[in-house]
C-alpha cells in the first residue's frame, strides 16, 4: 500500500470523529522505489483537502503531509513533535475556529457526502504531478473551491418525462434510484453521489433526467402519484 492510497474520506472521517489533526507520511518525492510515485497523488489530495478545510472555516494546518525515508527516524520525530505542538497550540477542532460542534459535524457530513462528486469533478486535476513547492498554495485556488461547493450539481427525474424504463436505476452505482415497473423513478438525493450516470443512460427520446446546478431539487412526487399510464406510440 502506498501513501497515494489515502482517501479524502479517511481525512474528513478522522476530523468528523473529533480528531484535531491528521498527519500523512509519504516516501521522499521522486524517490519512489516503484514507478508509482503515489506520494504525488497523496500530496495533490492533501492540497485539495486543505483548501476544502479553509472553505469550511477549519485551519488547514490541521492536515499535514511530509515526505521522508525509512532511515530518517530523527526527521520523523522532529516533524511529529512539531505537528503535535502546533495542534496543541491550535486547540480542539471546531472550537478553536469558532464553529459549534453541531455546525462542524453538519459541515463535515456535507463535505463527506460530496467526496465522490469531488473525485469526479476534479478527476483530471487530482492526477497532476505538482512540479514545485511554489505551486502548492495556489494549485487549488480558493475561488475554485468556492465554486466547487456553490455550483454543486444535482440530478432530478422529471416525472412528466420518465417512462419507467429502469435503465437509470439499473446503472446507478449506489442504488440511489427508487424504481419499479410503470412507476416514475425517483432519485434518493441523500444517497445520490452525483456521478452523472443516470443522466447519460436515460434514453435521448425521454430526456427525463435533468441536471440542476446550484438550485434546490424539487421534492419527490408522492408514492401514490407515481404510476404512469403508457401512451400509445
Amino acid at each position: 500500500m502506498c501513501s497515494g492510497r489515502v482517501d479524502p474520506e479517511f481525512v474528513f472521517r478522522a476530523f468528523a470523529n473529533g480528531m484535531d489533526g491528521v498527519f500523512i507520511g509519504g516516501c521522499i518525492l521522486n524517490e519512489c522505489n516503484y514507478i508509482t510515485n503515489g506520494n504525488y497523488h497523496a500530496l495533490n489530495m492533501v492540497l485539495l483537502c486543505k483548501k476544502i478545510m479553509e472553505h469550511m472555516g477549519l485551519n488547514p494546518e490541521r492536515l499535514r503531509i511530509e515526505f521522508m525515508s525509512s532511515g530518517e527516524g530523527m526527521v520523523y520525530v522532529d516533524v511529529v513533535n512539531d505537528f503535535v505542538s502546533r495542534i496543541k497550540e491550535l486547540g480542539p477542532v471546531g472550537k478553536a475556529e469558532g464553529i459549534s460542534e453541531d455546525e462542524l459535524s453538519l459541515k463535515l457530513a456535507e463535505v463527506r457526502k460530496l467526496i465522490p462528486y469531488i473525485k469526479i469533478v476534479k478527476k483530471e486535476k487530482l492526477q497532476v504531478r505538482i512540479g514545485s513547492k511554489d505551486e502548492y498554495p495556489e494549485f487549488y485556488s480558493n475561488n475554485e473551491i468556492d465554486e466547487l461547493f456553490s455550483d454543486v450539481v444535482s440530478y432530478y427525474i422529471d416525472p412528466e418525462k420518465c417512462r419507467a424504463c429502469m435503465l437509470c436505476a439499473r446503472n446507478c452505482p449506489v442504488g440511489a434510484i427508487e424504481s419499479a415497473k410503470n412507476q416514475v423513478h425517483v432519485i434518493d438525493q441523500y444517497r445520490c453521489i452525483k456521478c452523472n450516470t443516470c443522466y447519460e443512460v436515460c434514453p435521448e427520446k425521454f430526456g427525463a433526467v435533468t441536471k440542476i446546478i446550484a438550485a434546490p431539487v424539487p421534492d419527490p412526487i408522492p408514492v401514490e402519484n407515481r404510476a404512469i399510464t403508457k401512451k400509445e406510440s
Binding site: R5, V6, G71, G73, N196
Partner: protein, 959 residues
C-alpha cells in the same frame, strides 16, 4: 527458505570440480545462540564496555555485544573481542539480562563442510585508507575525513544520528571541501599514494554527498576539487548538473595541497591552482577525501583458497568475453571484486553469475528445494470473528514501558476477542507454537499480535497463522514497540494508553479481514528476445542452454548488430571472433529460433503468458512466451557538426576503427590526426555522456601509434572518462605522446578546410583550457567521437510493450540502481545499449543478468500473484477511467461491455499500491486487505469511546 546464511564464517579450502566442490569452512563463535536471540538488544543496553564502532568508522562507540548495524541479516547480536569476559573472565552481565538465554560463552569455533555445484565470489572492496604521513594528514588532522566517514556522518543511523559534526568541536561544518581521486589515478611511482586505475564511483558519490549536505544545511558552502568529472553512467550527467547548479556549490578543476591546519579553529587551508586565477589559498571547516576502491584486504588469501588468479591490481582476473567467469571453472565473481564498478553493474553481474551457476546445477534443479507443507486451511467463512490477541513483552523492550498485563485484560473486553495472553518473545519458536496451539484450542479465526514492526516479522507470523490452519491474511500486527514503547519510554502511563488504542484499532480491523488466495498462473516456458546483437544473443544462449525455448528477433538480415562494426576492445577482446562464435552457437542451438528481418505487429498478455505476432522472413508467426527481453541496441549519431560528410577525411571513430583494421592508408597514412570528443552528446539535444567514446578514441589512438609511431595524434576532449581500468590505457596514451587538449563547450573547436595546391588541409582551432591559449592544428584527418543514440525503433517497441523511456530516450529500467535489468512491468527485462551506451564487456554482463532474471520465471511451472491486489465490483463502476490513469502498471483497463465502459483489473499486473482505490468515486475498486471498510474501521475505533457515548445518547433520544 532456500538460502542458508552462514555469517562470521571463513572458507578454508575448496576441492573438487565444477558441479561438485567440497568447501571447508570455519564458523567463528558469536557467543550468541542464533536460534534463541530475538534481536531485542537488551544485552546491548546493559553491556558496560564501550568500544569504537567499526560500522560507524570508529567515529562513535558501540558495546562489546551489539548488532553490527540496523539492517544486519540476521538481525541478532554478536559479542566481539572487546568483551570483558572473553578478555579477563569478568562481567557476564549480558547472560543475566537476556531473558531468552541466548548468550552462550561456551561456543567454540565450528568446522563446517558442504558440497556445492558452483561458487560465486562477492567479497566486495576495501575503501582506500590515506596514509597518515601523506600531505592530507588523515588521522592527524581532526577535520580531514574520508568520504566513507562522511557517508556515516550524514546517515540517520550514523555516529551522530544524522548530524554532520566536526570531531574537533562538535559543530556543524558550513564550508566543506571534497578532494577527488584520493588513492585513485595515481602514477604508481609511490604505492602508498594509491592505485593506477580510476575507482569509477567517486565523482558520482561526491555529487550525492554535496546534494545531501545541502539538504542537511541549505546554507552550506560546498567545493569539489576534481580532475576529470567522470559522469559516465545513466542519468549521471544530469545528476552532476543538479549538484553543480545548487547555490554555493563550486566544482574547481585543480590539483590541491593542504597547506595548514589552524591550531585554534582546526580549520584546514587548501592551496589550489586554476588557469583563470592562478594559485589561491582558501580555508575550509572540513575536508572530505574522496577515497577510491581497493581490492578486499585478504585478496591474496582469497585467490589461494579458491584457486583463482588475480589481475595486476589485486582484483579477480576475469574473461573479457564473460566478466563473471574466473580462471577456475565453476567459480564466478560479481560486484566490485571484478574491479571498481557501480551499483547497477554489481546488481546485474550478481544476477548473471547466479544464472551461470545454474549451468552446473541444471541437472539437479529443484532437488534440494525445501517446500513447506501446511495443514489444510480451515473454512471460517460462516463463523463469527473469534479474535486472539497476543501481547509481546519483547523482553524488556515493551514490557518495561507498557503495562502488558493490563493490555491483555483490556483486549479481552473488546468485541470479538475470545482469547488474549502475554508472551515474553512472540518471535521465539516456542511462542509461535503457542499461537498455533491456541488457534486450534480456542478455535480462533483471527490473530492480532501486539509487538513490533510488521517490516521485520510480518512474514514469520503469517506463516505461524498458516501453521494453525488459518488463511495467512487473517493476521494483524499492532506495533506497540517502534510506534509506542521505544518512542515513549519515559511516559509509561500514556504509552500504555496508546498501546490500548493501537490494539483496539487492530482488533477492529482484524474482525473485517478476509481470506485471500495467492493464485498460481501457468508459465509459458519460452522467452522472446528482441534484438540479435551481442546482448540479445548472449541472453538467448544463456536461457536456451538451460533448456528453455527462445525466439530471437532481429530486424536486419543478419545477426550481430552494432558489434559488426567493432573489431577490438581496450582489453584486447577480438570482437569479430567472439561475435562469429556467438552467431554459430545461436544457430547451432536447437532451442533458439531466429527470426530475421522481423517486425513486431502486436503484443499482449502479461508475465508468464505473453503473445506476440511477428512478420519475418519466416512469414507471420504468433509467438507465445513467458518472458520478454528487450535488447534492441543503440545507433550511432550522424554528426551535423565539424563538416562531417563534406570531406572524405572527416570520419567517425567507428569508421576509423574499420579503416585501421582494413589498413586503409587514406586515413591511417596521415601525419597529423585530430580526434574531437563529445560530438552530439553532452549538449542540449542529448544531455548525457555516451560513455564509450573516450575509451574508443584512446583505443584507436594507441592502435595507430603502434602501427605508425611517427603519427601526431591530438585528442580534443572535455573530460576524459576513462573509468576503471581504462585509466591505465589513458596513461599509456599520454606517455606515448598522444596530445590531449581540453576544450569547454562554450568554445568548441572550429574546423575549416583549406585547399592548398592539390591537397586539402583540415584546420582545427581550439582554445586549450589548460594553457588558456588558442591552438591551431593543420591535420590530415579528423575523427569525430560520435554519440551513441537510442535506436530508431525504440519508441515503437516501447509503445508495443507498454514500456517507458527515460529523458534521453533510452529504455527506463524499474530502478536505476537496484533493478537495472528489470522493467516496472513484470516479466520484461532489459540489456545492452538499449538501456544506455555501454562497453561490450558490460553488455555481456547485463545480458547474462537479464537472462538470470528471466530464468527465475521460466524455471517455475507457475508464478504466484499476491492476494493483496485490487478488485472491481462491476455494478458500482461508472467507467469514469480515473483508476486507469492512476495505475502505472497497466493493471487497470477500460473495456466496452453491454453496460457501457467498465474498468477491468488484471490481478497479476497489480502491485497493490491502491492509487486506483483512492481515485474511485463509487468505491467500486477495493484494494484487498486494505479495503475502505478495513481502514475506516481503524480510523473509527480510535475514537470509539466518544462514539459509544454518542451512540448511547442517540439511542436514548430515539427511545
Amino acid at each position: 527458505m532456500n538460502i542458508e546464511v552462514l555469517t562470521y564464517t571463513e572458507v578454508k579450502s575448496v576441492d573438487g570440480e565444477p558441479g561438485n566442490f567440497r568447501v571447508r569452512m570455519i564458523k567463528r563463535p558469536r557467543y550468541i545462540d542464533e536460534s534463541k536471540c530475538t534481536g531485542c538488544t537488551t544485552c546491548v543496553e546493559y553491556c558496560p564496555v564501550r568500544y569504537p564502532d567499526k560500522f560507524n568508522q570508529k567515529i562513535s562507540s558501540n558495546k562489546a555485544v551489539h548488532i553490527y548495524f540496523s539492517q544486519a541479516v540476521p538481525l541478532i547480536a554478536f559479542i566481539d573481542e572487546s568483551c570483558l569476559y572473553l578478555k579477563d573472565s569478568k562481567c557476564r552481565i549480558c547472560e543475566g539480562v537476556c531473558k531468552n538465554d541466548a548468550i552462550d560463552f561456551a561456543q567454540k569455533e565450528e568446522r563446517i563442510e558442504i558440497n556445492v555445484g558452483a561458487i560465486i565470489l562477492a567479497p566486495g572492496f576495501e575503501p582506500f585508507t590515506p596514509d597518515i604521513t601523506d600531505q592530507y594528514g588523515y588521522g592527524r588532522r581532526q577535520n580531514v575525513v574520508t568520504s566513507m566517514d562522511f557517508e556515516r556522518l550524514m546517515c540517520a543511523t550514523g555516529p551522530y544520528e544524522g548530524e554532520i559534526l566536526r570531531a574537533s568541536d562538535m559543530k556543524h561544518p558550513h564550508n566543506v571541501a571534497w578532494i577527488q581521486c584520493i588513492g585513485s589515478r595515481q602514477s604508481g611511482k609511490s604505492p602508498e599514494a594509491g592505485n593506477s586505475y580510476c575507482s569509477a564511483v567517486c565523482c558520482e558519490y561526491t555529487q550525492k554527498q554535496v546534494i545531501l549536505t545541502k539538504d542537511h544545511d541549505p546554507d552550506a558552502r560546498c567545493t569539489v576539487f576534481h580532475n576529470d568529472i567522470r559522469a559516465y553512467g545513466k542519468d549521471f550527467e544530469r545528476f552532476y548538473q543538479r549538484a553543480e547548479n545548487l547555490s554555493d556549490v563550486r566544482f574547481i578543476r585543480s590539483y590541491v595541497s593542504i597547506v595548514k591546519e589552524d591550531p585554534v579553529t582546526k580549520n584546514i587551508t587548501i592551496r589550489y591552482n586554476t588557469a583563470d586565477e592562478g594559485v589561491k589559498e582558501e580555508e575550509f571547516d572540513m575536508v572530505v577525501l574522496s577515497i577510491g576502491l581497493n581490492p578486499p584486504v585478504d585478496h591474496k588469501e582469497l585467490a589461494e583458497t579458491f584457486g583463482i588468479e588475480l589481475n595486476s591490481h589485486g582484483f579477480c582476473k576475469t574473461d573479457p568475453s564473460n566478466p563473471m567467469r574466473t580462471t577456475r571453472p565453476g567459480i564466478f565473481v560479481s560486484g566490485t571484486f571484478q574491479g571498481p564498478v557501480d551499483i547497477p553493474e554489481s546488481v546485474f553481474t550478481a544476477s548473471g553469475a547466479g544464472s551461470q551457476c545454474a549451468d552446473f546445477l541444471e541437472y539437479r534443479r529443484g532437488n534440494l528445494n525445501t517446500k513447506r507443507v501446511y495443514p489444510p486451511e480451515r473454512d471460517v467463512s460462516g463463523e463469527e470473528p473469534r479474535i486472539g490477541v497476543f501481547v509481546c513483552h519483547c523482553g524488556a523492550n515493551i514490557g518495561r514501558v507498557v503495562d502488558v498485563p493490563s493490555a491483555v485484560e483490556y483486549a479481552l473486553t473488546l468485541p470479538n476477542v475470545v482469547h488474549a495472553q502475554e508472551q515474553l518473545f512472540s518471535c521465539a519458536t516456542n511462542s509461535a507454537k503457542e499461537i498455533t496451539d491456541m488457534i486450534q484450542e480456542k478455535k480462533l479465526n483471527r490473530v492480532v499480535l501486539a509487538a513490533c514492526s510488521p517490516r521485520t516479522l510480518d512474514a514469520l507470523f503469517r506463516d505461524t497463522v498458516r501453521e494453525g490452519g488459518l488463511n495467512q491474511y487473517y493476521f494483524e500486527f499492532a506495533n506497540i514497540r517502534e510506534h509506542c514503547s521505544w518512542v515513549h519510554s519515559k511516559e509509561k502511563e500514556e504509552a500504555t494508553e496508546k498501546a490500548l488504542d493501537l490494539i483496539r484499532m487492530s482488533v477492529a480491523r482484524a474482525a473485517l479481514l478476509e481470506p485471500l488466495q495467492e493464485f498460481d498462473l501457468p508459465v509459458t516456458k519460452a522467452a522472446l528476445v528482441v534484438g540479435g546483437g551481442i546482448a540479445g544473443m548472449t541472453s538467448a544462449l544463456s536461457i536456451a542452454e538451460q533448456g528453455y525455448k527462445v525466439h530471437l528477433l532481429e530486424k536486419e538480415k543478419d545477426l550481430g548488430g552494432m558489434a559488426r562494426k567493432i573489431y577490438s576492445t581496450l582489453d584486447k577482446l577480438d570482437v569479430q571472433k567472439h561475435l562469429n562464435d556467438l552467431i554459430r552457437k545461436v544457430y547451432q542451438n536447437p532451442g533458439i529460433r531466429v527470426y530475421s528481418e522481423s517486425v513486431i505487429t502486436d503484443t499482449s498478455g502479461y508475465v508468464g503468458n505473453f503473445i506476440t505476432r511477428v512478420k519475418s522472413q519466416k512469414g507471420v508467426s504468433e509467438i507465445k512466451h513467458g518472458v520478454t527481453i528487450i535488447a534492441t541496441g543503440a545507433d550511432v549519431y550522424e554528426p551535423t557538426e565539424y563538416l562531417y560528410g563534406q570531406n572524405g577525411k572527416i570520419i567517425t571513430s567507428l569508421e576509423l576503427e574499420k579503416m585501421i583494421v582494413q589498413k586503409d592508408m587514406k586515413i591511417t597514412g596521415s601525419k597529423k590526426l585530430v580526434m574531437i570528443q563529445c560530438v552530439g552528446c553532452r549538449n542540449e539535444d542529448r544531455n548525457y555522456c555516451s560513455r564509450v567514446c573516450c575509451g574508443e578514441s584512446i583505443k584507436n589512438a594507441l592502435e595507430l601509434k603502434e602501427r605508425h609511431p611517427g603519427m601526431d595524434i591530438y585528442i580534443l576532449y572535455r573530460d576524459i572518462r576513462a573509468y576503471g581500468y581504462a585509466e591505465d590505457y589513458y596513461r599509456e596514451a599520454r606517455s606515448k605522446k598522444i596530445r590531449f587538449i581540453r576544450y569547454e563547450p562554450d568554445s568548441k573547436p572550429v574546423v575549416k578546410i583549406i585547399k592548398e595546391k592539390k591537397k586539402s588541409i583540415i584546420n582545427i582551432t581550439v582554445m586549450d583550457q589548460t594553457l588558456k591559449k588558442k591552438v591551431a592544428i593543420d591535420a590530415d584527418a579528423l575523427v569525430l567521437a560520435a554519440a551513441a543514440v537510442p535506436s530508431a525503433n525504440t519508441q515503437k517497441i516501447a509503445q508495443l510493450f507498454g514500456l517507458s523511456l527515460s529523458l534521453d530516450g533510452f529504455f527506463k529500467e524499474a530502478h536505476v540502481k537496484l533493478k537495472p535489468v528489470e522493467f516496472a512491468a513484470d516479466g520484461i527485462y532489459l540489456c545492452g545499449t538499449a538501456h544506455y551506451p555501454k562497453l561490450i564487456s558490460e553488455t555481456i554482463s547485463q545480458a547474462y543478468g537479464a537472462a538470470g532474471r528471466a530464468l527465475t520465471i521460466l524455471s517455475h511451472d507457475t508464478i504466484v500473484a499476491s492476494g493483496s491486489v485490487c478488485e472491481l465490483d462491476e455494478n458500482k463502476c461508472i467507467g469514469c477511467g480515473a483508476c486507469v490513469t492512476a495505475c502505472t502498471y497497466g493493471a487497470v483497463q477500460l473495456r466496452q461491455s453491454k453496460k457501457g465502459n467498465k474498468a477491468e483489473i488484471i490481478p497479476v499486473l497489480c502491485k497493490g499500491c491502491g492509487l486506483c482505490n483512492a481515485k474511485c468515486p463509487t468505491g467500486a475498486i477495493q484494494l484487498k486487505h486494505f479495503t475502505d471498510k478495513e481502514i475506516i474501521s481503524q480510523i473509527d475505533s480510535v475514537f470509539v469511546k466518544k462514539r459509544e457515548e454518542e451512540k448511547k445518547e442517540r439511542v436514548e433520544a430515539a427511545v
